[in-house]
């Protein structure tokens, strides 16, 4: 361990930052929809099994890799196996790409806090979001036209993120999470309570929790459960490796990891209750069924929720502010963790100071992000890049890290297990080896194979081939090229 390496002020500081990273937009807008689409209450069983047999084991692996090496992903994986540095840089590149568009979505959430006051979207939230606010281009290719009212808030999001990162691990990342996480808990709990008081909330909860047992026989439901667990826990793309590298030598890794894993999953259940109670109200107020109004992701947040908010009458402003501020707060702590990965990696590799790394890496990302996502193409770019980078970038990186260790470097797996058991109270046994070697590896392999096959065969969405290649496959190729080049640059 180098003397100059930063660390958390305490174990609780690490836990709260790790929870802040794991709890993001996906917990609020992705989980409820994925659960509903895959069997409702019955989905919770594959989800819980996925958490125990894949999410937590992979979380422990990430913690151990980072903690054991006290290094960011490139150096940490280099110490584990030959070629590991390329994998580490792949994960770093994936984080850079995610940071670019994540800032854009955060900007939308932040702007909608303001739009909630008086419900500025009027009677047509869909038209307002796509046309008035994003000014989405009708062109099939890339349209460079610029949207000034997105530029400034986006620049503001980047400024906030960089200020936090300039503060360093203790005074920036840890301190901000100590403010954001309790705030998120209070806001989101208030939102859920408000949702549960709405007429029709019970119908929403029925739709969310009623089990469709036949769904459990469908392999796609199981893949969805495992896939969601990976995305939700921030595992497999370097964040947890980086965060764990700032821990002090004697830290209870598994004990801390259990809190992070369960806190993240608990937030998802709470989100499911809040979102479906609100959707139940939406169905009630429009005289329709819950299944007719269910949506997820961007559609849920920026179209369905504004509709719900507008139907509330008194208290609409408060409800909107609670929802969009929750989204924003959940997202900003994740955004900080995403950017911390490349910053930490450059500090390790080139011995840059934090100030220099944040300025060059964070500032450079900010410029690219602002140029790309202040344009009239933002929604298309977010959708395409998110799909490719999540399903190939993250899953591919996680798969290679697990296979490289669990299949081809068994001695390293044993060393990692011994390292964890020497300092942790919940010990890892051969069951942990088995989940990584067989369950997690095979599920990721099948998921990645199916994704690549479908993308090559059918493409993604209705986007033009040129856009998909430029921003979808282009990002994947970019990550691979950057990883290959940086792994060959000598350390300073």
């Amino acid at each position: 361990m180098t003397d100059s390496r930063e660390n958390w002020s305490s174990r609780s500081g690490f836990i709260i930052a790790a929870v802040g990273s794991a709890v993001g937009l996906g917990n609020i807008w992705r989980f409820p929809y994925v659960a509903y689409e895959n069997g409702g209450g019955a989905f919770l069983i594959p989800y819980l099994i996925a958490l125990i047999t894949a999410g937590l084991p992979l979380l422990f692996l990430d913690y151990a890799v980072g903690h054991r090496s006290n290094s960011s992903p490139p150096k940490a994986y280099r110490k584990l196996f030959r070629g590991g540095e390329t994998l580490g840089w792949w994960q770093v590149s994936v984080c850079i790409i995610i940071g670019l568009y994540y800032a854009s979505v955060l900007t939308w959430a932040g702007s909608y806090v303001y739009f909630s006051i008086g419900q500025m979207w009027g009677s047509d939230p869909e038209g307002f979001f796509f046309k008035t606010y994003l000014q989405t281009s009708e062109a099939t290719g890339f349209d460079p036209s610029f949207v000034s009212h997105i530029f400034w808030p986006l620049a503001g999001i980047w400024a906030l993120t960089l200020v936090i990162l300039y503060g360093g691990v203790k005074k920036g990342v840890e301190l901000s999470n100590k403010i954001f996480m309790p705030l998120l808990f209070v806001l989101f709990t208030l939102l859920v309570i408000q949702s549960l008081r709405l007429p029709g909330a019970v119908d929403g909860l029925n739709a969310f929790f009623t089990p469709n047992w036949s769904a459990m026989m469908d392999y796609k439901v199981w893949l969805a459960a495992y896939g969601h667990t990976f995305f939700s826990l921030s595992v497999g793309f370097g964040i947890m490796v980086t965060y764990a590298s700032y821990l002090k030598p004697k830290t209870n890794l598994t004990g801390s990891g259990l809190i992070v894993g369960f806190a993240n999953a608990s937030t998802e259940i709470l989100a499911g209750i809040g979102i479906f109670a609100a959707l139940g109200f939406m169905a009630y107020s429009s005289n329709s069924n819950v299944q007719d109004v269910v949506s997820g992701g961007i559609g849920l947040a920026f179209i369905a929720f504004p509709k719900i908010i507008s139907s509330l009458g008194a208290g609409a402003d408060l409800f909107g502010i609670l929802f969009f501020t929750s989204l924003f707060v959940a997202g900003i702590s994740s955004m900080v963790s995403i950017l911390e990965v490349p910053i930490s990696a450059m500090m390790d590799k080139l011995k840059w100071s934090r100030k220099k790394a944040v300025t060059i890496v964070g500032g450079g990302s900010a410029v690219v992000s602002i140029v790309l996502f202040s344009s009239v193409n933002s929604i298309k770019l977010v959708d395409i890049i998110d799909h490719f980078i999540n399903n190939i970038g993250i899953i591919g990186g996680a798969l290679i890290s697990i296979i490289s260790i669990a299949w081809f470097k068994r001695s390293a797996l044993l060393e990692i297990r011994n390292h964890v058991n020497a300092i942790s109270t919940v010990h890892l046994g051969k069951g942990w080896d088995f989940t990584l070697t067989v369950i997690t590896s095979l599920i990721l392999l099948v998921t990645l194979g199916m994704t690549i096959f479908n993308l090559l065969l059918k493409g993604y969405g209705d986007y033009s081939v040129s856009l998909q290649w430029l921003f979808g496959w282009g990002c994947v190729i970019f990550c691979a090229v950057i990883a290959f080049i940086l792994a060959r640059v000598k350390d300073r």
Partner: protein, 47 residues
């Protein structure tokens, strides 16, 4: 709410929120070691 929905809601809440509470209690029973003290002792022995 229908019975099966209530059962699934209770099971998931008990498992996840219960798991969170147990994890917190477990960590509270195993407080953080004072690394600084340990390192100081180690340094003294080294010197």
């Amino acid at each position: 709410m229908n019975t099966s929905a209530i059962i699934m809601m209770i099971i998931s809440m008990l498992f996840l929120w219960g798991g969170l509470i147990l994890s917190i209690l477990h960590l509270m029973k195993n407080p953080e070691e004072l690394d600084e003290v340990l390192e100081e002792v180690k340094d003294q022995h080294t010197l």
